[in-house]
């Protein structure tokens, strides 16, 4: 029920609406809750609404953190 999927904003239209792309499937969502969202941004979509912008940089940082964990180094 709290599922939210990362999606890329392809186009903005109408009253605070946007077309987003989720793994090739496009759908219309509302941007009411994420003012300042632009085409090209990634957002978390839940039940037809963008609820937050996804921070790409944090995604990369998390992955780098996981790759740099001590136990990995001990094995290599």
């Amino acid at each position: 029920m709290c599922l939210a999927i990362p999606a890329k904003v392809r186009e903005k239209s109408g009253v605070n609406l946007a077309t987003v792309d989720v793994l090739g499937v496009t759908r219309k969502v509302s941007l009411d809750l994420v003012p300042g969202t632009d085409v090209g941004d990634w957002v978390l979509v839940h039940a037809g609404f963008a609820i937050e912008k996804v921070d790409e940089q944090f995604a990369q940082e998390t992955l780098e953190l996981l790759r740099s964990m001590p136990y990995l180094e001990e094995d290599t």
């Binding site: 029920m1 709290c2 509302s30 009411d32 609820i51 992955l63 996981l66």
Partner: protein, 373 residues
């Protein structure tokens, strides 16, 4: 852009599991080999992610993953489900609902049964679809049945504001939405429920941030980590919790940084409290918990279904033998319920924890072999 599959990398998973075993070992030394660490997740999506990815099977022997009241459908009390069912019986009402509320049994019926008896019940993906139905059917009163936590509530507020701007007079909401922090307080306060640390919900926290959980660390010395939903995310959350427990620390941390900021999404939080005001709410298995419900404010009364439609739902009753309440409190695991896998299966579910796609019984039944023997 990152690829979600990056967060399913088996090499990094093995690495995290090794770290989890390391800290579980430190805890065993500190607290004794027979001490079992209870980590509770409080989000139905985590319940599913843990079960689907078999994460229980890779936990050290002294680490137990339990499920809390994190499935918004499951925690909805029969009293509220009966009201939704009464709305479905109303001949001039078109009920719109999320899919997983449809089959949930109330005291005597379900929305699905009423649909079979001629009730106008429609499953929608978004409350925006309910608005579109109201626009297309001006002679019908469209009611949206709303359950959910802070992830879902702001979209209900935004929908009501859109209905107001559209001047829609044939649309209203029956809201049984709930909030998470105070139910965590009730659980942390309950001596019968052992919790060493909390896997905190990801997308609820996208909205409210991490501050509302700080009382858990400050007052109860219970660590919490806001966790994402991919396998690596969940393993990272567990790893960080065990690290804290091994070091005797208790703080609220965010592992799911790509989706959650400390301050959350203030626009969404403002939207919640512009349209709703806190009230008491009844939770299945937990009773009435003060300040965990949300009622539509007087200013938006025209969008409150209960203020517009006369209903007299039956006196609610519990389903005989159903122990969903204990499962939801984390006091019992699904397969410890007498009905699990026998009278209660996905094909003919008895309690909501088996009906709901994020219920812990549904997760256990579908992804573990407890349901077969």
């Amino acid at each position: 852009m990152f690829d979600q599959n990056d967060f399913r990398d088996p090499e990094l998973a093995r690495n995290l599991i090794e770290g989890i075993n390391h800290y579980a070992g430190v805890i065993a030394v500190n607290k004794g080999a027979d001490y079992t660490v209870h980590l509770m997740e409080v989000c139905g999506t985590h319940t599913m992610a843990i079960a689907k990815n078999g994460l229980r099977d890779v936990m050290p022997a002294n680490v137990k993953l339990t499920s809390g009241p994190g499935c918004p459908v499951c925690v909805t009390a029969n009293k509220d489900i009966d009201i939704a069912i009464e709305l479905a019986k109303h001949h001039d009402v078109m009920v719109t609902t999320f899919g997983d509320m449809l089959k949930v049994p109330g005291s005597y019926s379900s929305m699905q049964k009423e649909k079979g008896l001629g009730g106008d019940v429609r499953v929608v993906y978004s409350p925006l679809d309910a608005l579109a139905l109201a626009e297309k059917n001006p002679d019908r009163h469209v009611v949206f049945i709303s359950v959910g936590f802070e992830t879902t509530t702001p979209i209900i507020s935004a929908t009501i504001k859109r209905a107001e701007a559209m001047g829609l007079e044939n649309f209203s909401v029956y809201a049984a939405n709930k909030t998470v922090p105070n139910v965590l307080r009730a659980i942390a306060d309950d001596p019968s429920i052992q919790i060493d640390a909390l896997i905190l919900p990801g997308h609820v926290s996208t909205i409210i941030g991490s501050k509302p959980y700080e009382f858990l660390a400050d007052e109860f010395h219970v660590p919490g980590v806001v966790t994402g939903f991919e396998p690596l995310d969940v393993l990272q959350g567990i790893y960080l919790l065990l690290e804290q427990l091994a070091k005797g620390e208790a703080k609220i941390d965010i592992a799911y940084t790509r989706g959650v900021r400390v301050e959350g999404n203030p626009t969404a939080v403002d939207a919640i409290y512009e349209v709703f005001e806190p009230c008491d709410a009844e939770w299945r298995g937990l009773g009435v918990i003060p300040g965990t419900g949300l009622a539509i404010r007087e200013k938006f009364a025209q969008f409150d279904a209960l203020k517009r439609i006369e209903l007299n739902p039956p006196e609610p009753r519990e389903i005989k033998g159903c122990q969903c309440g204990d499962v939801l409190r984390g006091a019992m695991l699904p397969f410890e319920c007498r009905l699990f896998g026998r009278a209660c299966t996905p094909e003919h579910p008895i309690g909501p924890c088996m009906v709901s796609s994020e219920g812990s019984c549904a997760a256990y039944y579908r992804y573990t072999d407890y349901g077969r023997n």
